[in-house]
């Protein structure tokens, strides 16, 4: 183990590496942020707030396709982790960039959806449904972008052979981003009662 840096970083009274604890912590705080938004959305919906029937206007096909893209990317990030565990840096590098590419596809579909909706008059201020739609999917998209940036940065380190544990950490994060989408998809695309 490296002798540089504080001893504290390498200690493990719990038996769990500090990095993993930290990412869990980060994700826990994220759960409360997205959880707050989702709870607000659901409360408004249950209250029969006008405008929520507009969920029928979103394209289930686009949403389902994006769900598929994100689920696939969760698989590639797992494969990247598995590769790094075996010490196969090149494979890991490739899988990280597959995941990155899936992120690009996801975002392109979102851009296509957003622009179509805005052109047909469904702007963020039209009613509460669309306010929630843009806020929550937008916040989610920002998380996708953030994850992609981090992935790009760590991929080169991994190829050079260090900071392997970061693949696992970004993987945890990416699963979370995926999971949030699994909640957003039914709320905004399917539940149009």
């Amino acid at each position: 183990m490296s002798t540089r840096g504080p001893v504290a970083t390498h200690r493990s009274s719990t038996g769990i590496p500090a990095g993993r604890l930290a990412v869990w912590w980060l994700l826990a705080s994220e759960i409360f942020i997205f959880g707050g938004l989702i709870a607000c959305f659901v409360l408004f919906k249950l209250n029969g707030t006008p405008g929520f029937e507009d969920a029928s206007e979103t394209s289930v096909v686009a949403g389902a396709f994006n769900t598929f893209v994100l689920l696939t990317s969760s698989l590639t990030v797992v494969l990247a982790h598995a590769a790094v565990e075996r010490g196969d840096r090149e494979k890991a590098f490739t899988y990280i960039w597959y995941t990155f590419a899936a992120g690009i596809v996801f975002l392109m579909v979102k851009v296509y959806e957003y622009s179509g909706k805005i052109l047909s008059g469904h702007t963020i201020t039209e009613n509460l449904f669309w306010s929630f739609y843009y806020t929550m999917t937008g916040l989610h998209a920002l998380h996708v972008i953030g994850g992609m940036v981090v992935m790009a940065l760590i991929s080169f380190d991994v190829r050079k052979g260090y900071n392997y544990q970061r693949v696992e950490l970004i993987g945890l994060y990416w699963h979370f981003v995926d999971l949030v989408w699994i909640f957003l998809f039914p709320l905004f695309y399917i539940a149009n009662f």
């Binding site: 980060l26 201020t125 009613n127 052979g161 900071n163």
Partner: protein, 571 residues
């Protein structure tokens, strides 16, 4: 994971050289002690701003419409801006940075027996975001229209519609500053929790951890679990302000009550977020200066968990008159009364600790004891407010204001002075002057009671909060009531003057004070086993822990204390 473990952090800590340049030592430090100083001094500067605001608006209340020395005539907008930002600053930019961030940073690695926080660079980043948040808040006072004046609770639509708040950008920058502060503490929390969980000295079991560390960790967890929905709310409020969404506007289908729920779902746990660190600090101080074992370590710890859990289900006691369903109000009355049980239990444990001890009235001990006394008044008056029938009358009166100042002042100001006077020798390697410390104590504590006790009576007499000039309300402009206001304001001015003594003592002692030994108070916890001030890396050889933190006056031992790292066969 083995190969990955081998590759851990090879390039991560390039900045750990022995000789650090000025820039890296003082401006961009990664050392937890220096970051603690940054938080502390930023917090103290913010406290001066918050205190100045209090001075100005109290003068306006005592002498309505007259020019205030060092300020001038106070306009209604300025009054609201100062009240709002006084509250915001004292909670988010004084209590949290000083109690949690400064002492958390200073104490957690030292008390847990390690050389730094687990993620030093993340620690530095948390401070930098915190600093930016403070600067954004200060900037908000100077934009067109002035700083935000819609109360620290920022209820919409007042806070969300510029035509109502009259502070278009002031309100938005306020929201932004608060949100940044939240992010900074979420990131900082990662360090506090992982360090206490993972980086403890060998031998230090969960129940050997000093209460001060435990309580900071619990506070950070409470913060993390309560602030998320409010961050979501802050995003929504910001969008209402800037893009014209209507999340909180009934005219567009939104609901202003939703904000109140989001705010208080955070707001009530937040009071325990700031309470717990001080409770922990006080536990450590009273055991040292009564030379007794903490009474019921486990009880104290478990009641803190209970308090933390309950604090998530009491929030609507702030909304009894906000139009919530009265049946729901009943539920919240019950939970509110319930939460006083663990708090009382904690206080009784502390009092039992003192009972029969050989009490030394040093300055930190005076602060700690006065905390217990003052907080008791705050807690007891909270029970009155928790009864919805009474609260219908009390709500938004000076009774509420006096209640929460009897909680917040002890927590923030008394807690801060207790901690600073206790750990000053460790932080700066010199002792503070005891005589000056005691003068400052009495000069703060007596005026504090003179400010806030009378306010309970003003509240009972029907004096509403958030009124800029009582001359406009003939019922409240009577001479007796005005006399009480003048008395409270005069007490405040006296208290502020006494703070000069503290500042003098603080800075004089920092450079000229008597040199401090390693363990001036004969305490058990690990920070007292290293030189004062601790060097970079803290411990020459990292300690091993053999026992809990509170082994004072153990029968059959010659020494009346028993450092945590002293091997059992030595004495």
């Amino acid at each position: 994971m083995s190969e990955a473990a081998a590759a851990i952090h090879t390039e991560d800590h390039a900045e750990h050289h022995e000789e650090l340049s000025f820039l890296y030592k003082y401006i961009l430090p990664v050392d937890h002690k220096m970051i603690a100083m940054q938080y502390m001094f930023t917090g103290l500067i913010m406290a001066v701003i918050g205190g100045y605001f209090a001075y100005v608006f109290r003068m306006q209340l005592a002498y309505p419409g007259e020019s205030v020395p060092f300020f001038g005539i106070v306009g209604p907008g300025e009054y609201n801006m100062m009240v709002t930002n006084h509250g915001t600053i004292m909670i988010f930019w004084v209590a949290m940075p000083v109690l949690i961030a400064a002492f958390g940073n200073f104490l957690i690695p030292l008390m847990c027996g390690c050389d730094d926080m687990v993620f030093p660079r993340l620690n530095r980043l948390s401070y930098q975001i915190f600093l930016v948040s403070a600067l954004v808040l200060i900037l908000s006072f100077f934009v067109k229209g002035g700083g935000f004046g819609g109360a620290w609770t920022a209820y919409p639509p007042l806070s969300s519609v510029p035509e109502f708040s009259l502070t278009d950008w002031g309100a938005s920058l306020w929201v932004l500053a608060v949100a940044l502060e939240f992010v900074s503490f979420l990131l900082g929390g990662i360090n506090f929790v992982t360090t206490a969980m993972n980086a403890r000295a060998p031998g230090m079991k969960m129940l050997d951890i000093p209460i001060a560390v435990w309580f900071i960790v619990i506070a950070v967890i409470l913060f993390m679990a309560s602030v998320g929905p409010l961050i979501a709310g802050a995003v929504m409020l910001f969008m209402d302000q800037r893009i014209g969404t209507t999340f909180f506007l009934p005219s567009g289908g939104g609901d202003p009550l939703l904000w109140e729920h989001l705010f208080w779902f955070f707001g009530h746990p937040e009071v325990y977020v700031v309470l717990l660190p001080t409770m922990g600090i006080v536990a450590d101080i009273i055991t040292v200066f009564s030379r007794k074992k903490l009474f019921g370590y486990r009880t104290v710890l478990y009641t803190a968990f209970a308090t933390g859990g309950l604090s998530f289900v009491v929030w609507a006691h702030h909304q009894f008159v906000a139009g919530i369903d009265p049946r729901m109000a009943n539920v919240f009355v019950v939970t509110t009364v319930l939460i006083s049980i663990p708090i009382a239990e904690m206080l009784f444990s502390y009092i039992a600790t003192l009972y029969g001890g050989s009490i030394e009235y040093t300055t930190p001990m005076l602060w700690a004891l006065s905390f217990l006394f003052a907080f008791l008044i705050g807690g007891v008056t909270g029970i009155y407010l928790g009864a919805s029938a009474l609260d219908v009358y009390f709500h938004d009166s000076y009774f509420v204001l006096a209640h929460f100042h009897y909680t917040f002042f002890p927590i923030t100001i008394i807690g801060m002075f207790a901690a600073i006077t206790f750990w000053f020798p460790k932080m700066f390697g010199r002792m503070m002057n005891e005589t000056l410390g005691k003068i400052h104590f009495w000069g703060t504590f007596i005026p504090f009671n003179c400010i806030f006790l009378p306010l309970f009576f003003l509240g009972l007499a029907g004096q509403h909060r958030r009124i800029y000039n009582y001359d406009h309300f003939p019922d409240l402009a009577t001479e007796e009531l005005q006399d009480i206001r003048v008395f409270a304001t005069a007490s405040l001015v006296i208290m502020l003057i006494f703070q000069v003594i503290f500042l003098y003592n603080f800075f004089y002692s920092m450079f000229k004070g008597e040199k401090a030994p390693d363990n001036p108070w004969k305490a058990n916890t690990l920070e007292w086993t290293v030189p004062s001030p601790p060097p970079h890396g803290n411990f020459k050889t990292l300690p091993t822990v053999y026992r809990g933190a509170y082994e004072y006056s153990v029968p059959g031992r010659e020494m009346d204390y028993w450092p945590q790292n002293m091997p059992p066969d030595e004495s």
